[in-house]
């Protein structure tokens, strides 16, 4: 558990980065600090491991005042992940990960064995251990960064915009990986981001900061969306927060059958036909062809997002983004099981609302 008690940070030039912050980060949760630049979210994070010391106030980590601990010793007990990973370019991946165990006095063999384990935990082939950071992609480097932070098995993990420098696809991978890791490791994680979507996806609790270092609201993601504390939070959470609320709703949406065809088949196209591969996975849609045709790759209209039964948001997005207005539903193996319609999602939402499942 991390407690901020009346913490203020005033820099030498007089700017107040954090103003009388009172906040408790519960043990074993991912807590996200989010806000525009200059809101004090990063400063707040960096005060936890004394990369910055507060001007006044107290920060307790598991009941211990951090100002009473020698900074290097304190930091070895707190995992630290930063933007672009900050790996040491002159050390191999394995030695990067082994850094903290070695600093803590482990012998070299044990530290390296542990480092190799960690590479596997974060989803990297241990063969990567011999490479140097410059030989890795941005996403791989960030995985190594996470492995380095976890090496000494610290109870607390600080992550400062760790995924903001990678492309959106890789970022989503890394976010899912973090959620998977957290389910296994149960750390107390403080995660800083300026991306509200990332905050809502990862955070069990989200602290929204506003300029001048004020805490605007500290709540569960659903609550931020459905009951923003003030106009700042409402506008920061965004215009489409009604749509985003669907992320947290899980309800049954009727799945309709759909006409499918395989590549190379000869068919008569009636309306929209979903073209699938040998494993019944969606390839694209076919329409607007008269008479009997052979299904060829060139005629396909690429499809929208796929709905895997996760949330109403996924279902609605699949329907809205599909060229046929039919959202493709897939099972865990990625095979087509049917389609959903936007109308059905709206009806499911109405039912959920009537049943009181939508937070007010």
């Amino acid at each position: 558990m991390i407690e901020f008690r009346a913490v203020t940070k005033r820099f030498e030039d007089g700017t107040i980065a954090v103003d009388e912050l009172d906040l408790t980060v519960e043990a074993g949760t991912i807590t996200v600090f989010v806000g525009p630049s200059g809101c004090g979210k990063t400063t707040s994070l960096r005060m936890v491991n004394r990369m910055i010391d507060p001007t006044s106030g107290t920060i307790l980590v598991d009941g211990r005042d951090v100002l009473t601990v020698d900074p290097p010793t304190l930091r070895r007990g707190i995992g630290y992940v930063i933007q672009q990973a900050g790996l040491f370019p002159h050390r191999t991946v394995l030695d990067n990960v082994a850094t903290v165990p070695l600093l803590s006095g482990w012998d070299k063999r044990r530290a390296r064995t542990r480092a190799a384990e960690l590479l596997e935990i974060v989803g990297l082939d241990p063969a990567f251990g011999k490479r140097y950071p410059a030989q890795l992609s941005g996403g791989q480097q960030q995985r190594v960064g996470v492995a380095r932070a976890l090496a000494a098995d610290p109870p607390v993990l600080l992550m400062d915009e760790p995924f903001s420098a990678v492309d959106p696809v890789v970022r989503e991978d890394l976010q899912n990986e973090l959620l998977r890791l957290q389910a296994e490791l149960d750390k107390t994680i403080v995660f800083v981001t300026h991306d509200i979507d990332e905050a809502l996806k990862l955070g069990e609790r989200v602290a929204v900061f506003r300029k001048g270092g004020h805490l605007a609201q500290y709540a569960k993601p659903q609550e931020l969306l459905s009951a923003p504390a003030n106009d700042f939070v409402a506008s920061f959470v965004g215009r489409d927060r009604g749509y985003r609320t669907l992320t947290f709703l899980h309800a049954d949406v009727p799945v309709h059958p759909v006409a499918t065809a395989k590549l190379g088949e000869r068919i008569t196209v009636a309306d929209w036909t979903l073209v699938v591969d040998e494993q019944n996975r969606p390839k694209g849609w076919l329409s607007g062809v008269d008479g009997e045709v052979e299904v060829g790759e060139d005629d396909l209209v690429s499809g929208g997002s796929l709905y895997d039964g996760s949330s109403l948001r996924g279902a609605l997005d699949a329907a809205l983004s599909s060229p046929s207005a039919l959202g493709v539903v897939v099972d865990d193996a990625g095979a087509v099981t049917g389609v959903v319609k936007a109308d059905d999602v709206i009806q499911a939402l109405a039912k959920a609302r009537a049943a009181g499942e939508v937070p007010k």
């Binding site: 040491f88 370019p89 191999t92 903290v100 490479r131 140097y132 380095r148």
Partner: protein, 221 residues
């Protein structure tokens, strides 16, 4: 020149080419050692703390502007003939490029890596010795090799004060109007400069992490 250079008589005895070559190499290596001991800690400290960068750059430029021959003569007037004035003049010549290379190298280390080094719990000495210096090595070597070339070339003036080295051939040749000997001395200096640089290039390859080589050439894939 060829006649002088390949005359076997010039390749033996206490004033022969091998002895002069070793003397010249001796001046060079001891100068570089002393200069490195002064310049690397200074450059590293200023690069690490970020304080005094202005002073370092100013001092470097001032030292670079000093005419080495004038320094040599001044020290001779003060301390008399011998090796000491030679070392003073050459060390003053070698310090600026090594100090500038070290300072620039440490400043150029990825600030994220330095932040991470502190953040994972390295002490300041560890940040400097285990992260900043190893990553600054290519630029430190750059400054060092530049200094080495200058020192090899300039060590020639040792002979001006009566000391040894390959400069002997240049100054004696001049005095005796033996231009073959002069030219041979100059060529030997240039040759030694190339060999010394090759030696340090090899040392650089051995001591700089493969992770710092330009993309695509480092480490095992």
């Amino acid at each position: 020149m060829g006649a002088w250079l390949f005359d076997p008589a010039h390749w033996s005895g206490p004033t022969g080419i091998p002895v002069r070559l070793l003397e010249h190499l001796g001046y060079t290596l001891l100068t570089l050692l002393i200069a490195a001991v002064i310049a690397i800690p200074l450059g590293a400290f200023v690069g690490h703390t970020g304080r005094g960068g202005f002073a370092i750059v100013g001092l470097s430029n001032a030292l670079r502007a000093l005419p080495t021959t004038a320094v040599l003569i001044l020290v001779v007037l003060w301390a008399g003939l011998g090796d000491f004035p030679v070392y003073v003049a050459l060390v003053l010549l070698a310090v600026p490029p090594i100090m500038a290379g070290t300072y620039a190298g440490v400043r150029a280390v990825d600030p994220m890596a330095v932040d991470a080094a502190r953040g994972v719990g390295m002490r300041e000495s560890g940040v400097l010795l285990n992260v900043e210096i190893p990553n600054a090595l290519p630029l430190i070597y750059g400054g060092f090799r530049g200094a080495a070339l200058q020192v090899v070339a300039t060590a020639t003036i040792a002979a001006y004060t009566g000391a040894g080295g390959l400069g002997r051939f240049v100054f004696d040749g001049l005095a005796l109007q033996e231009f073959g000997q002069m030219l041979a001395g100059a060529v030997l200096v240039a040759l030694l400069a190339v060999l010394v640089d090759l030696g340090f290039a090899g040392l650089q390859r051995l001591t700089v992490s493969p992770g710092l080589r330009p993309a695509g050439t480092g480490g095992k894939r």
